[in-house]
Amino acid sequence: MWLGLLMGSVIVLFFISLTVGRHSFSLWQTVQELLAQEQSVYTLILIELRLPRSLVAVIVGATLGLCGAAMQGLLRNPLASPGILGSSSGAALFSVIVLYFGFHAISPWLLPIAGMAGALLAIVLVYALTGNDSTITTIILAGVAINAIAAACISLAINLAPSPYAVREIALWTLGDLSKVSLTNLWLMLPTTLIGWLMLIGCGQALNALSLGEQTAASMGVNVARLRWRIFLATALAVGAAVATVGAIGFIGLVIPHLLRPLVGYEPRRLLFASALGGAVMLLLADISVRLIPSQIPLQVGVLTALVGAPFFLYLIVKLRKELP
């Protein structure tokens, strides 16, 4: 029931996202023009600007929700998410280096690959610092440290970048922005994202078993070490590509699995799919709102997800404090 509702929302919001912009025109008429293979300003705006923007919103939102759910399931820790564990900022750092120093001119594929490498490095570092079954505090502290280092290196790299426009874009990498994506960006991010998704979706059963404890899971035939690496790698693939394309959009991976967990009966396997849909809904909503808020300078989408997500994060901490002895 809930899944159907979420899926319906994704579809409805996707179409709303196609109609929202600086200029309004009839979506229906434009689609007819497209079918008649006529080219007009409106078909160009629809196909080349709004379609990639809406699709990327769905894909990135789904990636963040899905990866958040998988990480929370794997580490059995409610605060595990791509943003908190530093993989978003790791991906951002590597993408910044590739983008601003012209390496992506060698091959555009270097960008998603760099994002992936950065995300993986950050996750592995946090994991190496904390180990398995560590307390929430240690994980958060390790994440804070990795995030701080990555953020400092991003600022440093951008300040050293030859482009005079670079410095203004620090905010983009820490907040995320969907306004400049093109179909080319979409094609570039798609392969690694899809591989990441497929790797994660197959983890459902193992995550279910893991929720009963590591030993139980092992006795049920789950190779926990392999599962861990699989999820790390898959998250890196998907989050890396997403961050390399639109910057680090925060809080979706943290908030969405929490909101949806009660709705799917606390079952990690079902949470994966639901969180992917929920992430897409949240990012589409945020991106539509950003375009509806009248402002001279376009607002960044990460501003909105943070405005919604950060209070929720605080609520989570308060709740955890009550639960802990």
Binding site: V41, L49, A105, S163, P164, Y165, S179, K180, L183
Partner: protein, 282 residues
């Protein structure tokens, strides 16, 4: 005896009014005026940007002059008797220098060729080179007389489209030059009078015939610069042309803006000729 008194009085007066001998500038555009007008040896320091061939028209003259990065410490070290600065750049430095009692003169960015003339005169007065300034203005005006025009009602349309979607309107030096080169600047259709941001959707709707590319740093990379490479700009019928104008020709005021005007006018005439030819063919 009387003659000597008069002569020495003249000398003293001249000394009191003496032109500044150690002039410091913390803004690229005041640098350009100085490099153009100042007497040899009177410039103490200019900004580091003035030695860059891509941003500074008179960069060769700046190569032998010590540079600064707009920091108050650097300026104080030169003990200048006149500091020139822009209205918006290096604000903390100019505030500090004013508090320390230095003579600081601020120049706003000129918004028309007329204001360039006014600024040249003001600079000439400040550094005791009014005659040179008048000479520069006279030559500039003579060239303008030959090439400046006004856009016809059906003149081709253009817009500057800088990284990040920045465009510049009529109320600016660049806008004035576009106008005098006979182009219709479409920035006002996007509601931009001076400086503003236009997103790609609006650019496609306004559909100017040509875009102006005036790169700040060619071959560098950023999200803002990637916007100009968005695939939609290759697919759309308009904008059809890109006119490249070297940034140093019109980023600051000075007689070089006439060169920008000439290039823009030539580009317009070429495009108009092509349009007529293709009409005749079809």
């Amino acid at each position: 005896m009387r003659f000597i008194i008069v002569a020495s009085a003249c000398l003293i007066m001249q000394w009191a009014n003496a032109a500044p001998q150690r002039i410091a500038s913390v803004n690229l555009c005041t640098d350009q005026y100085l490099l153009l007008l100042a007497a040899p040896g009177t410039i103490a320091t200019v900004t580091w940007l003035s030695q860059k061939p891509e941003s500074s028209y008179y960069y060769e003259r700046a190569l032998r002059i010590p540079v600064n990065h707009g920091e108050a410490e650097e300026i104080v070290a030169h003990a200048p008797d006149l500091v020139l600065a822009g209205f918006y750049s290096a604000r903390t430095t100019t505030h500090l220098l004013q508090q320390l009692g230095y003579q600081v003169e601020l120049f706003d960015h000129p918004r028309s060729v007329k204001q360039v003339r006014e600024q040249l005169r003001r600079m000439g007065d400040l550094i005791g080179r009014r005659e040179q300034a008048e000479r520069v203005i006279k030559t500039m005006d003579a060239r303008l007389q030959r090439v400046a025009t006004q856009p016809a009602d059906d003149a081709p349309t253009l817009m500057q489209y800088a990284p990040g979607g920045y465009t510049i309107g009529r109320d600016s030096l660049v806008g004035d030059i576009m106008y005098l080169a006979g182009w219709r600047n479409q920035a006002q259709n996007a509601g931009v009078a001076h400086l503003g941001i236009v997103d790609l959707e609006t650019l496609l709707m306004i559909a100017p015939l040509a875009l102006i590319d005036s790169p700040l740093a060619p071959d560098s990379y950023s999200f803002a610069e990637q916007m100009l490479k968005h695939p939609v700009l290759k697919k759309t019928a308009r904008p059809k042309f890109t006119v490249t104008i070297e940034r140093k020709l019109w980023i600051c005021g000075g007689p070089m803006v006439v060169d920008a005007l000439i290039e823009l006018r030539k580009a317009r005439e070429t495009i108009e000729r092509e349009a007529i030819e293709s009409e005749q063919r079809s």
